[in-house]
């Protein structure tokens, strides 16, 4: 890279159009913006521009045809640069530049509506603390609490949430405050000591403008109940989770369970982002907002998905006492899942043979900042994949289900989310979310209980809340022209003509012809099929498809007229079907921070009333968890798991896992018999080598055997 006067351009590379930026490319983009924008800039994000689908698809066609060479035309490689311009009066303007990396020049500039607020940055998080320390208003509030000097104050900066109706809000940040025991391990859990104040900062002016006082009452107290502001921590008790601070010994009786892959993993990663495993082939991207993103997912050479991503999550709290209506995070839009991604650790976050890869982020000066090990890829065993025993011969054929997991984990102050895309050998893709971490607590008076949450530790009320997620599925079922069908199983009243004995039921399929929202309907077994109406399965004569059953999660509980609800229109339906548009990626719209309502999200996309049958269509699945905390969720909650399962439905001509070898795992050991115990009746095809492929097990099935076949010749009387 040249640092001279000419245009700074990235080294000529043939990175894949979907690859993350290299450090060099980040630097090119940064310089390009600095050159044309002579002002104080605060950089937020610099990341790869995904090419318009129309352009990218052409390149991908060549790629899949195996005809890509150095001369193959490819979409221009570009970077998106998101940054603030800070003016002398400390006001900010939010700009977004597109930089062409080959020429090192800005090719597009977007000035963002001043009515919206962009996501929080790490610098703003840090500044919150500093501003509090300097704030007389904050110091006074702390003084009034008359805390013991054995405590420090720990502040979790939060997005401000939705402003109240009529409230004038420049850029704000709020802070949830806790006391932290001093002279202790720095990892002592401060959440056990919640303080009943929330300082509010004018983020750009770097000034605490208000201290919100929190009610600490119980069931018997009104919404506005004011704390005595004294002795608020006297009844609180430590609640440690780091092992050296625990008041009980760690379990000694958990013996090691090791996952060993002596021949290495079954997947390959090449070309920086291309994963191939068990007939699957896809690319892994990583964005500051979404974390890991999957692209161009194929199975056995056939297209399944164009793109798969976590799109948004909102966490509204159900405590009606002000200002808790503003405890509503949008963890993707307000913070950024990629920016909050954990650096994963070998042997801790997954077992076996792991491939990690790094995320490219930037610091506030726009310089590349590599976040190590933000995504891990590994295989795991998920029990039996399919099994059948012929009771006549006792021959059992059983395969195990191996999965490939692409995982990332994010920390948002108190909470953790573990996201995994899991591929299986039967053509399935599961999007798994695990919620863990520390539930959000507020102070409650001694001896009281509350209808708004559960007392999980003395003085600590864990407030009832919801987590509502949106997954964006851009299907490409054997091509980009797809139709979404709903399929319901409905009762048919007993009648002589069509249901004489009453056992019949009907399966009703309906195409979605216009962009729409769909509610989950478990009692009709509502299934969503993403089909290619132009390609018919030759066996079933139905369109090839992938399906999922939308989880009938409870949706947004807040009053539809509330700010909380309006900010998250996406959280009002389980499935949204929209016509594809480039860069329409975010269920709640691009700007969620301090939003008053959802703008540019899925509800707006649906409102376009586009034709969506036999079109390039996008499906958004919304699911959630109403979390009324248990005491067992304290101090760190056991994972709550949700799975969205995408499964082939007449996409293939039979079970695609039929060719998975039913290999006996010879490393397994039986207790009380020798290692080659007599339990396992292996048929003649077993190759006998440890973990060899291609062998098959036959296990006797008791008490059903012995009913053999009858010869046609016999019954025919020959």
């Amino acid at each position: 890279m040249s640092a001279a006067n000419g245009p700074i351009v990235a080294k000529k590379t043939h990175k894949h159009p979907l690859d993350q930026l290299s450090g060099d490319e980040v630097e090119v983009a940064r310089q390009a913006v600095l050159k044309v924008r002579k002002a104080h800039l605060i950089f937020r994000n610099i990341y790869t521009v995904e090419p318009p689908k129309a352009e990218l698809v052409e390149f991908l066609k060549a790629e899949h045809a195996g005809t890509v060479s150095a001369d193959t035309p490819r979409p221009p490689r570009q970077a998106r640069v998101q940054y603030d311009v800070v003016y002398d009066d400390q006001s900010h303007e939010y700009l977004e530049s597109i930089v062409d990396l080959a020429t090192g020049s800005e090719v597009n500039l977007k000035r963002v509506d001043t009515g919206v607020q962009q996501s929080l940055t790490l610098d703003e998080f840090k500044e919150f603390n500093e501003v509090c320390v300097e704030s007389e208003m904050f110091k006074q509030a702390i003084k009034e609490l008359d805390l013991d000097e054995k405590f420090d104050i720990a502040i979790d900066p939060w997005p401000y949430g939705g402003p109240d109706v009529g409230e004038i809000t420049p850029r704000y940040t709020q802070g949830l405050c806790f006391a932290k025991r001093r002279h202790e391990n720095p990892d002592t859990n401060h959440y056990a000591f919640p303080l009943p104040i929330i300082p509010v900062m004018d983020t750009n002016k770097k000034e605490i403008i208000r201290i919100d006082r929190l009610a600490t009452g119980g069931t018997e107290d009104g919404l506005e109940y004011g704390t005595a502001d004294k002795n608020v921590l006297e009844h609180c008790r430590p609640a440690e989770y780091v092992p050296e601070l625990l008041d009980i010994p760690l379990r000694k009786d958990l013996k090691p369970l090791n996952v060993l892959q002596p021949d290495g993993p079954s997947f390959t990663m090449s070309d920086d982002s291309l994963i191939e495993w068990q007939k699957w082939r896809f690319r892994v991207g990583f964005t500051p907002r979404e974390g890991a993103v999957l692209h161009d997912v194929h199975y056995d050479g056939r297209s399944v998905l164009y793109r798969l991503s976590l799109s948004e999550m909102t966490v509204p709290y159900g405590d009606p006492r002000p200002p808790f209506q503003r405890k509503q995070a949008f963890d993707f839009g307000d913070s950024g899942a990629g920016r909050a991604a954990n650096n994963l650790a070998l042997g801790c976050d997954c077992l076996g043979v792991i491939k990690y890869f790094d995320g490219m982020l930037v610091d506030s000066e726009g310089r590349p900042s590599v976040s190590k090990n933000v995504v891990c890829i590994h295989e795991q065993d998920n029990g039996i994949g399919w099994k059948h025993t012929d009771f006549r011969t006792n021959r059992a054929v059983v395969t195990r289900s191996r999965e490939l997991v692409v995982q990332f984990i994010i920390t948002l102050a108190n909470y953790e989310y573990i996201f995994a895309f899991k591929f299986d050998q039967a053509g399935g893709i599961t999007v798994e979310t695990r919620a863990t971490g520390i539930v959000s607590v507020v102070n409650i008076d001694p001896g009281k209980v509350s209808p708004y949450g559960n007392v999980v530790s003395p003085g600590a009320l864990a407030q009832n809340h919801q987590h509502i997620f949106a997954v964006r599925i851009d299907p490409a079922i054997d091509g980009h022209a797809n139709t979404i069908f709903t399929e319901e199983s409905l009762p048919v009243p007993m009648n002589p003509k069509t249901n004489p004995f009453g056992n019949g039921y009907e399966v009703v399929r309906k195409p979605v012809t216009k962009s729409s929202a769909i509610h989950a309907s478990p009692f009709t077994n509502l299934t969503v099929k993403m089909a290619n109406p132009n390609k018919i399965n030759p066996i079933s004569q139905r369109p090839v498809a992938y399906k999922f059953i939308p989880s009938p999660s409870q949706l947004m509980l807040a009053d539809p007229e509330s700010i909380v609800a309006k900010r998250a229109a996406f959280a009002h339906h389980h499935v949204w079907v929209t016509k594809y548009r480039d860069e329409e990626l975010f269920a709640a719209g691009e700007f969620t921070n301090q939003s008053l309502k959802e703008i540019g999200g899925v509800a707006d996309a649906v409102a376009r009333n586009d034709k969506v049958d036999n079109e390039d269509v996008v499906v958004w699945n919304v699911f959630g968890l109403t979390h009324n905390p248990r005491v067992e969720d304290w101090p760190v909650m056991p994972v709550e798991i949700h799975q969205l399962e995408l499964k082939p439905a007449d996409f293939f001509e039979r079970n695609p896992a039929l060719d998975v070898p039913g290999t006996k795992n010879l490393s397994s050991v039986e207790i009380g018999r020798d290692e080659n115990g007599t339990c396992c009746h292996t048929d003649g095809t077993t190759n006998g080598t440890a973990n060899g492929n291609g062998s098959v097990q036959a296990a006797p099935t008791s008490h059903l055997q012995g009913t053999g076949s009858i010869r046609v010749a016999d019954v025919n009387g020959h």
Copy 2:
């Protein structure tokens, strides 16, 4: 054991009251019955009588107090003997004797209502084939099909299902018929060649009394469409699943994944049935009807469940064309899950270190017949159990979730079910079912499709059907007097007094005071809590409880007035709450075979209108799967998984998995870095030995670190 003239008694043993019978004990019971019943007997089952709860609880109290000795009074050990008496006119009477094993004498005799039919036996299965071969009626039907002599006939005997209204039915068995390619591997898949006839046998007379002809038409044909009876197999194609018959090679690129437990398992099994693992302690029983059953489940010395079992499953088919209304199996009541249990194979059905145990069954002469390895017990890793990273210090504490699995697998002709009770370290118990095996198909004419199913192979229509399961939960939450609560999360309209900003919602708890049925209600987040109202959690001040969220599965689709629906009243609600009664174990009643309606099942139990709050109460959870087959379900379907999760809810005073060591697994390997790669920042407490317990990992969390604490002294101005 004495074979002399005196009473034959079992050797003096101190087997646990819940243990399966020994071979000696079976023999004692058999002899006791043979002695008093001078007739031709066909034995069905001989198994342990579980003592009345009132008696057993006293013994268990002593056991838990550690005061059991040889002199401790214990409930009399008894065997239940179920058998047919065959009279000279070939009529059968079904009797049930209770034999006291200490005295070797019958202490109770029950004559079963002649209006019911007991389950099918293996002998009856075998006889079905023999009777068909001898039947001129059957031979004629086969002859009319004019099959190629390259075929054999394979018959799957099935329960007769529900008779039609007004039909007079002695004991019947029906047979689903398929053609099986000759001169082939005996494991060639005959289900690919379905024949359009169902022979019906008078089971006691051993005579084919009717051949039902099956429609083979499509959407355009009426219910009664008759097949041409010619060339019904011409368009059928082989659909093999045993690997040596596959027309494609097995995958070569799946590398071994071994689970090694170098120090052995973390559980112990003692006393024939007692399992102890990670603070859990319970007994595993095994019955001919239910398969594995769990008893007396405790965590850390506290009672959680008295008994946990699979109770029933019904599989109604939704094809309205007669006689498919009689394709409705009750796999527990008609067949018996224990008797259908697979003999599991090391390294095939689970990985790692496995403890198998055997089931005691009997042959038709009442002699003990040990079914080997019907239950397996092993540990597995289920990913991250809990995790939190303090963004201030970057200290990550992460534990993995280890599970203990008690698994059994049943084969019922074409279908397989995998049942597992899974315990975790956070106090959770999951009842997992996996459906696999071969979908039931019937013949369909060339080129046709049908509204009643999906063509999964040429000529093979996989009919739409449901699987509806019932799990019986006998809670003992810190004692036997429990109350069931429902808890729903409900919106609250925005209003100035209680919900000024509209974000609030309310959680409504209601006790179930009378025996009742409850519908799942996902959109109100309906949660069922099994609580002990006499014991209050000192932290939350709520009753200690376990909870589950009933899956909103689609329930019985058949018309409520149909025989199919009436036979399975249990399948009409998701949760049933009943007052405990000894031996009330079966959701659809004891006798399901050929039943016209459910008798003595949960609906009848609820109709007693018992008081159930603060009583010994039983909870039945019903869930299911509407299975409209995919082509991918053929020829053997990938597992469909359902999980029922029982979780503590204010049972403990914090996360019970808090003391699980966050051990780094040192056998894990990173691709592209050395084995001690730099990724994993381990804190000072790590002991550094391979897979040692007690160590804890700290992994850096990127981009959130650095916002430290504030000293109270500083803000207080000291």
